[in-house]
């Protein structure tokens, strides 16, 4: 009778696959990456709007919290308005290069995390098929 999903290897270490924990962290992270992408997109869109200040999402603390498996809350992130840095004569603070780097960085991280999630589901599928490949 098995009371818990896991495998005991020869060394006696019990390896439990915590799908739910990892998925929750990934899911929360993906969600925030998407929100950040929206904000960075809005910055690029407003590159010629007078007095527009670029915004960004700060969520490092939130990610650690999610990875710990503690309850996640969407309020943990922080929207920051950049007040310093370059500014054109019309008071616009969007720097094209900085924003483009942030945009592609965020998109790449999102894609990597999606790939992780995809592989995690593939492992689950493999296990569900008892190793027969799905």
């Amino acid at each position: 009778m098995m009371d818990k999903v896991g495998t005991t290897f020869a060394g006696g270490i019990n390896v439990t696959i915590k799908f739910d924990n990892a998925s929750a962290a990934l899911e929360a992270s993906l969600d925030l990456r998407l929100q950040r992408q929206a904000l960075l997109t809005a910055n690029l869109t407003n590159i010629d709007t007078p007095n527009y200040r670029p915004v960004d999402l700060k969520f490092q603390g939130f990610l650690t919290e999610a990875a710990d498996g503690s309850p996640t809350s969407k309020e943990a992130h922080e929207i920051m308005t950049m007040t310093e840095g370059v500014e054109t004569l019309d008071g616009n603070g969007v720097d094209l290069d900085t924003q483009l780097v942030k945009l592609s960085d965020n998109a790449t991280r999102y894609n990597v995390q999606l790939e992780l999630m995809r592989r995690q589901l593939a492992i689950l599928r493999y296990a569900a098929g008892m190793g027969s490949g799905g």
């Binding site: 929100q35 992408q37 997109t41 527009y52 094209l96 945009l103």
Partner: protein, 141 residues
Amino acid sequence: MSLLKSMDIVASGLHAQRVRLNLISSNLANANTTRTKEGGPYRRLDPVFTAVSTGDASNEFEAALKRVQVDAIKPDPTPFAEVYDPSHPDADPTTGIVAMPNVNIMEEMVNMVTATRSYEANVTAFEALKQMAMKAMEIGR
């Protein structure tokens, strides 16, 4: 869905930059126009952009998320260029001076390059969003 909303924002940016490019074309095309419906020479036009929140202001995220909107198309108040050309049909008969449009070709060209770059930045943002959406669809495969 956030991705689709972002795409709407990009669309607003593309639209605004296109309006701007159209106005630049109009300014360049009318660089020598001395007669208009309103009377007098052509006055160059400029778009005025404003940032507009995409959702209700009580939501912090939606309030920070802004699309761009062409608020107005404003005529440039700078004075017309005065050129001495007595043979011009619109020249003042006594002084021989013609009022020419306040369009500066160099200024318009620089504006055109900036507008094109901004348009391209929006296209880049759109490409990134599209790629993310395509990748998200692969998740169940």
